[in-house]
């Protein structure tokens, strides 16, 4: 980790820890959001001359990880990804919290008054949809890919149950809503989906580490049969397995972030999100099992992490989605199979 990354890590880990929302407290988006943006956390990818961090995906991963590790209930990760997409598409950055979503049945057409474009389509389960000021989405129009920005206020709310952790996931319908900005962007939807999957992978990594830390602390303190749970081999072996899952996902997230920085990361992100998804079942079950009934108590914090893990496993590609995606990528390799492919990827990285 570079010195700058260490500084970023210290900043965000301390900051996010103070933004934990206790049970029963209403989310105070405005004040916490102000704190985050005053420090420029949302501007990881923005250039230094525009007051940003001029950072990389490896830098952004640090923010995502600590957002997960602290179960941060704010759309900071979505905003960072949205801004990166807009920067790549040369679109001016809107103010306020942003989010990203893909659309079903979408249509882009010139506005009736000839000024700009109008968008129609349904956006399902948009993360922090109504709280965000604008939504970055992708659309195909006349065989070309476009990235566009919608004002959340133009969306008609059609429900959308919050995710397992109570984070807003809003359904928003747009009916010939004027887009705030649009730019042709090859592979817009894949780019959006991949970057969002990388974001969730790093968040999962952070939440897994938090669940492990809580579990270790708990079994050291809790005594049964006259000794701490930590002294029982059955508990030790379970927590070793949990630690291995944490390590694997952490490594996958870091390697995928590096790959994204170096260019083509289609394979790495698919593999990393799938690996992260696959850890969720066993990791959450171990963390809850060693906690006993305490772990499912409302005022105890474990559920803030496990609920997010259950939710994030589905978001931006569940196991099946990425397993098919990755499987197809591997089947498409003509010579030398998987081995030739993954070694070529890392050897290309080595030459950059």
């Amino acid at each position: 980790m570079t010195q700058q990354q260490q500084l970023l890590e210290e900043t965000v880990s301390g900051l996010f820890a103070e933004m934990v929302v206790p049970m029963g407290r209403e989310l105070d988006i405005d004040s916490d959001w102000k704190t985050l943006t005053q420090l420029g956390i949302d501007n990881i990818f923005v250039g230094e001359d525009e007051g940003g961090f001029a950072g990389s995906w490896q830098d952004a991963r640090i923010v995502f990880y600590h957002a997960g590790r602290n179960a941060l209930a704010l759309p900071i990760c979505e905003t960072i990804v949205a801004k990166k997409l807009l920067l790549d598409a040369n679109i001016e950055l809107p103010k306020g919290p942003l989010t990203i979503a893909t659309a079903i049945g979408s249509r882009l057409e010139p506005c009736a008054d000839g000024d700009g474009y109008a968008f129609s389509g349904s956006l399902k389960a948009v993360a922090w949809g109504r709280i965000s000021s604008a939504i970055v989405t992708a659309c195909r129009h006349h065989d070309k890919d476009y990235l566009l920005v919608l004002s959340s206020a133009d969306g008609v709310s059609s429900g959308g149950r919050a995710n397992e952790a109570g984070e807003p996931r809003d359904n928003l319908d747009f009916n010939s809503a004027k887009v705030l900005a649009v730019s042709q962007f090859d592979g817009a939807e894949q780019a959006l989906w991949g970057k969002a999957a990388l974001m969730r992978t790093a968040q999962i990594s952070g939440a897994l580490d938090a669940a492990l830390e809580m579990s270790v602390t708990h079994v050291k303190g809790r005594e049964q049969f006259g000794r701490p749970l930590a002294k029982f081999q059955a508990i030790q072996q379970q927590l070793a397995m949990l630690a291995e899952e944490c390590a694997a996902v952490n490594c996958a997230a870091q390697a995928a972030a590096l790959a994204e920085d170096l260019g083509n990361s289609r394979f790495e992100i698919a593999a990393a999100k799938l690996r992260a998804n696959r850890s969720v079942g066993s990791a959450t079950s171990i963390a809850h099992q060693v906690h006993g009934a305490i772990g499912v108590t409302g005022e105890y914090n474990l559920h803030r992490f496990t609920q997010r893990l259950w939710a994030w496993r589905s978001e931006f590609g569940n196991d099946r989605f990425w397993a098919e995606n990755l499987g197809r990528q591997v089947l498409a390799v003509k010579d030398g199979g998987l081995w030739a492919h993954i070694t070529a990827l890392s050897d290309n990285h080595a030459q950059q």
Partner: protein, 382 residues
């Protein structure tokens, strides 16, 4: 809580050309090797292959030039061994010498002893085995009974070793033995010795495994004399030496590639076409394999920089062994729509072999339970 370090590794820029050279060598050398023989991975034995590989400079790569090595970086060696394993090359003969014994000699032995053994190891002519387990000592390694007592000019060794890989096909053993009686501190009083297996008083029997293959054996020492300079490192320091040696060998590519040939055969048999369920299985295996390679490479990078991430290495070995053991079961479970069921195919034969060979993957080099105990200690639970 302790954080685990898995910083991604960027390989040195010139590894691609080395990789190409190794692949081109293997294309020729392995052309006639059957699929099921490739599946033996680092249990596949061919003294002839080891000599040819050594003639390319790919055995003992990191050792000093004066001892027949090429002073290559550990990462260049890493690329060579991952290519050997992915291709299913029969590396067993020189494997132990290359992976640990040579490095141990370079680190601890006198110059005369190094000159006697290491150049021959680097030529792929002198093979080593490691004497650790005994009839009553497996995971509880500190309970070993084989002992050495001092005599004029050296030591006399008595006892026996069991389940020693390649015992009957190696010239030399590095054995862990007791040099002082077991006292309060169980790990004290152990030392490592270099034992020439052609010495008087050594008796070796190979043992058939459940597949009928003879890759391990038992060795009896009846008043075997070794000279003073065959004591490796410091007397009584054997436990520490063995543990740092084990830590080095827990995270290499051999910890997740032991079943890779089955996956390669599977992909070949499908030729790019298959049903959704099989596609998903391929995706899942690929994600696990890619992640394990990232973890293994990260540790290789840390080792090359001089740190000893032994906790992380134990994690890679446990996760890797689970992966290697699950792979044959996933393939077996998926046979049907796309995966051919022809029992005479290379795929089927490879699958049968790996279903039966894979239980050993989580035993060799430290059992799953021992590894998880090490990790639990790292978490502060012990």
């Amino acid at each position: 809580m302790q954080n685990f370090n898995f910083t991604p590794l960027k390989m040195p820029p010139d590894v691609a050309s080395l990789r190409r050279a190794v692949r081109s060598f293997l294309d020729t050398e392995l052309a006639e090797l059957k699929a099921v023989d490739k599946a033996q991975s680092w249990a596949g034995y061919s003294a002839d292959f080891s000599r040819k590989l050594a003639s390319k400079g790919w055995v003992g790569m990191t050792w000093p030039k004066a001892l027949g090595g090429s002073e290559a970086s550990a990462l260049h060696r890493y690329v060579v061994i991952e290519e050997l394993l992915a291709a299913g090359a029969p590396v067993a003969a020189h494997w132990i010498a290359d992976r640990q014994s040579g490095t141990l000699l370079v680190r601890y032995a006198s110059e005369a002893v190094q000159q006697r053994f290491v150049p021959a190891m680097a030529r792929g002519e002198m093979f080593f085995c490691i004497g650790m387990s005994e009839p009553n000592s497996g995971s509880d390694l500190a309970s070993i009974k084989t002992k050495a007592h001092r005599v004029d000019g050296g030591w006399v060794i008595n006892g026996s070793k069991l389940w020693t890989t390649n015992a009957h096909r190696s010239q030399i053993m590095i054995a862990l033995v007791r040099t002082t009686a077991q006292g309060q501190a169980r790990h004290a009083g152990l030392s490592q010795f270099i034992i020439d297996l052609s010495s008087e008083g050594v008796k070796i029997n190979s043992i058939a495994d459940h597949l009928g293959a003879r890759h391990f054996g038992e060795i009896f020492f009846d008043n075997v004399f070794v000279s003073d300079d065959m004591l490796l490192g410091a007397e009584g320091d054997g436990w520490n030496q063995v543990n740092s040696e084990l830590a080095l060998e827990r995270s290499g590519p051999e910890r997740y590639l032991s079943s890779y040939r089955l996956f390669a055969e599977l992909l070949e048999s499908l030729d790019g076409e298959c049903d959704d369920a099989t596609t998903q299985t391929i995706g899942e295996i690929s994600a696990d394999l890619w992640t394990l390679r990232q973890m293994s490479m990260s540790i290789a990078g840390q080792l090359a920089e001089g740190s000893e991430p032994s906790l992380e290495a134990s994690m890679v070995k446990d996760l890797g062994a689970c992966f290697e053991q699950n792979l044959p079961h996933s393939v077996q479970a998926g046979i049907g729509a796309s995966i051919p069921s022809d029992r005479d195919s290379d795929l089927s034969e490879t699958l049968s072999y790996l279903l039966m060979a894979s239980p050993a993957f989580s035993l060799r080099g430290g059992t799953r339970e021992i590894l998880r105990g090490i990790i639990a200690r790292g978490l502060g639970l012990k």
